[in-house]
């Protein structure tokens, strides 16, 4: 909706026409009032139209009518041409763009031009303003982004279903697998001996052919043995000792993908930029953490990936061709992130990739592994949610010290409660004594006052008399002393015979007389004072005697003494009780500290101890329940072990285990072998994590084959024909697409070919070198079987493969045979067993190109097309890059150079050229002779 408000600078006059009056039944006033009202509010919709030759017209829209107007010739008013009912076409014009006119004074209307000219104000129409605003109306907001995202999500939903259908078709193609025996290995786990080996892969969901409702997950196996964990309810009596196992598609994986897509649609992906990345490659800018240092040395590419992975806010893709140290890099990224408190998910379609990382993580990290567990190393097995839960359960149940302590507290509770009660009663006694003390201390003076009231007046008078007599005595004694001194002084002056000697003589005599007088009075004063003092003392004794014997005073003093005595004995008792209580409580944990001797302090102590006792009582009950619950808990405890781990390793991405991720949240999701993961399979980990790191190799076989994707609608097919990694990688900016370019696995003779053919020459090699092979002159050898007749070629090649392995395997730590198809695999496996003996571990050392994901020192790769699915370039790459020291290709080179697939043919041509210069290209008869000679020497 594109609209713009335009304020008309002055009133615009409207002129009636005959047509408009006809349209409105000669009463245009109501409609014009509505126009004025809308204009006053600034919501009068108007549209403009050019009418040719510089002419224009305007439409004003009321609720139900459209008024068409055009300017007068003088361009000073608008003539009302007609009033039409508002139609859908008007709605369309308005939604394409409209001006909202605001005219405070409305539109003055005139019956005709003459009236306008006579009475109206003639001003130029604001046509220029209107057209300027009209032409600057913004184009409709492009909703392309939204539409593109909505469409992408729609296609993603369809891709989930299509991917599921392909999985269903794959499962249908797997014939029911007969088993000849079964054994109950504990819990819901049973092991079955199959008639054929290698068909049921780990994490596949299967059901019993005889009882399809009994479903389980393949947890592992070797040879013809498979272990299956059944869903609850499958008792031994329901599983026959012989029967069939049928592969069933995982509905839960599909649901997990749909849930993830729905979460993305709702905008609730933990990675808020995820949808923008997937649809429009909108990555948030960032700088790598250049200061971050890994725990172990990394090469420059690995260090770059490490520093980018620590900082990337949304998603980082790391291209890791074979042997470039993906695992090492991932280990360092996980360690660093987990140590920063981030919760990390590591996931991959393969168990090997996940376990390779988990085995190398520092032991201080809390790691939990989820997925098929039979094929794991013992170190990784200990990390499974089941093992972790079991270990936790064992430890919790083994440690009974806390429970014992609490039980002891419970056992001694009556004694403790007695002591608490004793403390309480002592506190009450002390509190009562303190109150009594305070009461008597206040009451005794009052009682004394009342008791002494009768003698008080006499005592007061006697005290006054005594004071007065003492005062008289003191005055007399002072006067006597003074008179003697003055008499002596005056006599001395008179004796010196001065003119005033007579006066001094007179004064000296006067003072002597005064002294004599005072001396005469002094005994009287002393006697009077002594008498007054004696009377006062006598009265005081009488008074004291009276007060002491007052019954109230006597009682109060007795109470006071008793209270003081109670306090003197109460506090030590309280302290003793406190110590006893603490001694009993302390073994069960911290207890309150003894307070200073105040009632409030000890009451607080008592209450805290009583509360503590209740708490310990509750804890004892709680701990017993905890032990009981933990001893019987199953999947939920495993789920929690996974929920609270620093690092969660989940293999079997795209299988049932994907469903386990729901409800979890991560700070970082790392998807290893991401080049083998379809986009729907990528969704559960991506939406559950704030950031993501996709590590993979876009030159490895994609998750779905071209044949599987071909029938799908093109948009859906585009999402499924390549891995999610391969779709995201080309769109990512350089800061979000990091390459690991130094490989250390393959000898240079092989790596150079791989680099040039599959990685645009970006791959560097740092290989520690290999011992010379006993048979071939280069680590990269091809035995050309074109010198053999076409009939029986498969058997010939199988024989060659088996003899080469038999001859060379002792020179290498390990070996493997890779073949083009399952049919070839059976032929070669049979021949290997004949040549090597039945005890040789053939099953673990043979695989098909594209499926074999282990690495070996010696690899013998027979890849002549057998009429089945033609070899693809990426399967070829996947097979070549498994080798560490010696690669022997067995094939009819002439046939390969003539294959129909032009891409593969070009690769074969460059292979031929490369082998000619850097490899060892030999005819099969030559090799057979060499093998025969070597065998002869040995014998």
């Amino acid at each position: 909706m594109t609209v713009r408000t335009v304020l008309l600078p002055h009133p615009v006059a409207l002129i009636y026409s005959a047509q408009i009056l006809a349209d409105l039944g000669n009463d245009a006033a109501p409609l014009l009032r509505e126009v004025d009202q809308l204009a006053a509010q600034g919501v009068l919709p108007a549209t403009l139209e050019a009418a040719g030759a510089g002419e224009w017209r305007m439409a004003l829209h009321t609720a139900r009518r459209v008024l068409w107007l055009h300017p007068t010739e003088d361009n000073d008013a608008l003539i009302l041409d007609r009033a039409a009912p508002r139609r859908f076409s008007d709605e369309q014009r308005l939604v394409d763009g409209a001006l909202l006119l605001r005219a405070a004074e409305g539109f003055p209307a005139f019956p005709d031009l003459a009236a306008f000219h006579q009475f109206g104000v003639r001003q130029p129409l604001p046509g220029e303003l209107l057209w300027r605003e009209w032409e600057s109306l913004p184009a409709r907001e492009p909703a392309d982004d939204l539409a593109a995202r909505a469409r992408y999500l729609d296609v993603l939903d369809l891709a989930v279903d299509a991917g599921h259908e392909i999985a269903v078709a794959r499962h249908r193609a797997v014939a029911p697998q007969k088993y000849v025996s079964r054994a109950h290995t504990g819990g819901e786990v049973y092991s079955f001996q199959l008639v054929r080996s290698g068909v049921l892969t780990a994490d596949s969901m299967v059901c019993l052919g005889e009882a399809p409702e009994l479903r389980g997950r393949v947890t592992g196996g070797y040879g013809r043995m498979v272990s299956i964990r059944f869903e609850p309810g499958a008792g031994p009596e329901r599983i026959p000792s012989q029967g069939t196992l049928v592969v069933v598609p995982s509905e839960r994986a599909r649901q997990a993908q749909l849930d993830a897509a729905a979460q993305l649609r709702r905008g609730e992906a933990h990675n808020p930029g995820l949808l923008g990345i997937l649809v429009q490659a909108n990555y948030a800018p960032y700088s790598p953490r250049a200061e971050a240092k890994p725990a172990q040395p990394l090469d420059s590419d690995q260090l770059g990936a490490f520093q980018h992975a620590l900082a990337v806010p949304d998603l980082l893709t790391v291209v890791g061709p074979p042997g470039t140290g993906k695992t090492t890099t991932i280990v360092e990224v996980i360690s660093a992130c987990a140590k920063e408190g981030q919760r990390v998910l590591l996931t991959s379609p393969t168990h090997r990739a996940v376990d390779g990382v988990l085995e190398n993580l520092p032991p201080e990290l809390d790691v939990v592994r989820v997925g098929a567990d039979d094929a794991m190393s013992s170190k990784v097995k200990a990390l499974t949610a089941r093992s972790r839960a079991e270990a936790a359960r064992r430890e919790i149940l083994a440690d009974t010290s806390a429970l014992d302590t609490l039980a002891e507290v419970q056992r001694t509770r009556p004694v403790l409660q007695w002591h608490l009660g004793h403390l309480h009663s002592q506190l009450q006694a002390v509190q009562a004594a303190q109150e009594e003390l305070a009461r008597t201390q206040a009451a005794i003076p009052e009682a004394l006052k009342r008791a002494e009231a009768s003698l008080r007046a006499q005592l007061v008078q006697a005290e006054r008399d005594s004071v007065r007599q003492e005062s008289i005595l003191a005055t007399t004694e002072a006067g006597l002393t003074q008179a003697y001194r003055s008499a002596v002084s005056f006599q001395e002056k008179a004796d010196r015979g001065s003119a005033l000697a007579f006066a001094y003589k007179w004064s000296a005599d006067h003072q002597r007389r005064r002294a004599e007088h005072l001396a005469h009075q002094l005994p009287t004063a002393k006697a009077a004072s002594a008498q007054a003092h004696a009377r006062r003392a006598k009265l005081r004794d009488e008074f004291d005697t009276l007060v002491t014997q007052d019954p109230l005073v006597v009682e109060l003093r007795s109470c006071h003494d008793r209270a003081q005595s109670a306090l003197d004995t109460g506090w030590p008792e309280i302290r003793r009780a406190g110590v006893t209580i603490l001694e009993m409580l302390s073994p069960a944990g911290s207890a309150p500290n003894p307070p200073p001797d105040t009632v409030a302090g000890w009451v607080g102590f008592h209450d805290a101890c009583a509360a503590r006792l209740s708490t310990l009582e509750r804890r004892a009950g709680l701990l017993r329940e905890w032990h009981m619950k933990i001893s019987e808990s199953g999947p939920e405890l495993e789920h929690e072990m996974a929920r609270y781990a620093d690092v969660l390793g989940v293999s079997g991405l795209g299988t049932d285990t994907s469903a386990l991720l729901s409800g979890f949240a991560f700070d970082l999701a790392i998807v290893d072998e991401a080049g083998q993961v379809s986009l729907p399979d990528l969704m559960p980990p991506l939406v559950r994590s704030r950031r993501a790191l996709l590590v993979g190799d876009h030159q490895q076989p994609p998750p779905l084959t071209a044949e599987e994707v071909r029938p799908l609608p093109s948009e859906v097919g585009k999402l499924l024909e390549r891995s999610g990694f391969e779709q995201i990688l080309p769109q990512a900016p350089p800061s979000n697409a990091i390459w690991l370019q130094t490989q250390r696995r393959m000898p240079p003779e092989i790596a150079e070919f791989v680099s040039a053919t599959f990685y645009a020459g970006r791959l560097r090699t740092e290989h520690r070198g290999s011992r010379r092979d006993p048979l071939f002159s280069s680590p990269f050898a091809l035995v050309n079987t074109a010198d053999r007749p076409p009939e029986g070629r498969a058997e010939t090649e199988a024989d060659l493969i088996a003899r080469i392995v038999a001859h060379s395997r002792s020179h290498y730590r390990d070996w493997a045979v890779i073949v083009a198809s399952p049919a070839c695999k059976d032929v070669v496996a049979a021949r290997l067993k004949e040549v090597l003996g039945t005890t040789a571990a053939v099953g673990d050392n043979i695989g098909c190109a594209g499926d074999f994901d282990d690495e070996r020192d010696l690899i013998v790769f027979g890849f002549t097309a057998d009429g089945g699915s033609p070899m693809r370039a990426r399967q070829f790459n996947a097979a070549l890059t498994r080798v560490r020291r010696q690669l022997v290709l067995i094939s009819d080179l002439e046939a390969l150079l003539a294959v129909e697939d032009k891409e593969f043919q070009a690769i074969m041509t460059s292979l031929h050229d490369h082998l000619t210069s850097r490899g060892d290209l030999r005819d099969s008869l030559q090799v057979e002779q060499a093998l025969g000679a070597a065998a002869g020497q040995q014998s």
Partner: protein
């Protein structure tokens, strides 16, 4: 891609099946709505597992207030207990991140109820009809109801759905009304929802069919159901849509259909008929049906649309039966 609404013929069929109703014209219309992207807090009800519940109980019943003491009490690794506490904090059950462990009210409520209520921010797009500001009822959130981000949609006749102009802005008070409404479920909202707020508002367009009857009634249909859509009819009753329809001048149907037949080679041999109720149909010989360029058999009994009018496709032999 999936259809955003069922074919118009089904709306006409339904209208024609109503007693006393004679459908006259059909108008495919895009109803303007606001797509309001909202967020709110809800309490998701989950089952307690094992450790989480006992961690809460240890804090509440056992008065364990310290991380280390908690790990020791349950005899669990300290790191695991820390993760569990982080999880319980994230869902609003434990206060933090201070050293003293305490339960929140939500944690206590969960513990008492034995249900793990997880505080969760939920995002949801709410649909609000633009003219009236009314929130759309729950039926219109069904997976089969498509609300378009852009007003580009053609009907079966390859003509664009009609547009409606409105100046009504989005009024956030509708969210307060919804939050306080005890019957939130009727508007596709969870019952225990708090702090409903809008994050963004964008235009949306709900494809619908308006069927005008000979009585001047307007019946509304959309993908929410194959019956009449009462909500849409209430909306349209408050707007000028009826006038828009009435403003589309009626045409002489015979003339319309003769012209159409002349331009439609597959139907050209058909016979035009008007039923006593006023509806039109084209009656074709059985030989006129078949693979292209004939009339597809699937068209038998359905309606053809032209200039808002429709006529039913019939087979002579069927009528004879």
């Amino acid at each position: 891609m999936k259809r955003v609404i069922y074919p118009a013929t089904r709306a006409v069929e339904h209208a024609a099946s109503l007693p006393g109703v004679v459908p006259l014209r059909l108008f495919p219309v895009l109803l303007p709505v606001w797509q309001v992207d909202t967020s709110a807090e809800v309490y998701e009800q989950q089952h307690f597992e094992v450790i989480d519940q006992f961690v809460l109980r240890a804090i509440e019943e056992g008065a364990v207030r310290d991380h280390g003491e908690l790990a020791a009490f349950l005899h669990l690794p300290a790191g695991l207990v820390q993760r569990c506490l982080a999880f319980l904090r994230a869902i609003g059950h434990v206060t933090g991140p201070g050293p003293q462990l305490e339960l929140t009210d939500l944690g206590r409520k969960s513990l008492n109820a034995g249900i793990r209520y997880a505080a969760k921010t939920t995002r949801q797009t709410i649909l609000v009809e633009r003219h009236t500001g009314w929130p759309l009822p729950r039926t219109h959130y069904d997976a089969g109801v498509a609300v378009l981000d852009t007003p580009h949609l053609e009907d079966g006749d390859q003509k664009p759905f009609l547009r409606l102009f409105t100046l009504a802005g989005f009024e956030p008070k509708v969210l307060s009304w919804l939050e306080n409404n005890p019957d939130k479920a009727s508007f596709n909202l969870p019952g225990q929802l708090r702090h409903l707020r809008h994050d963004s508002v964008r235009e949306g367009f709900l494809p619908s069919y308006l069927v005008e009857t000979t009585d001047g009634e307007v019946l509304a249909y959309c993908a929410a159901g194959e019956q009449r859509d009462e909500f849409l009819e209430r909306v349209f009753a408050t707007t000028a849509v009826r006038q828009l329809i009435q403003a589309q001048e009626p045409r002489d149907q015979q003339e319309v259909w003769r012209g159409w037949l002349a331009q439609s080679p597959a139907y050209r041999s058909g016979r035009l008929e008007q039923l006593p109720g006023g509806q039109w149909r084209v009656v074709l010989d059985a030989s006129a049906f078949g693979d292209a360029p004939k009339v597809p058999r699937a068209r038998l009994g359905t309606y053809e649309f032209h200039e808002h009018y429709f006529l039913q496709v019939c087979c002579e032999e069927d009528l004879a039966d």
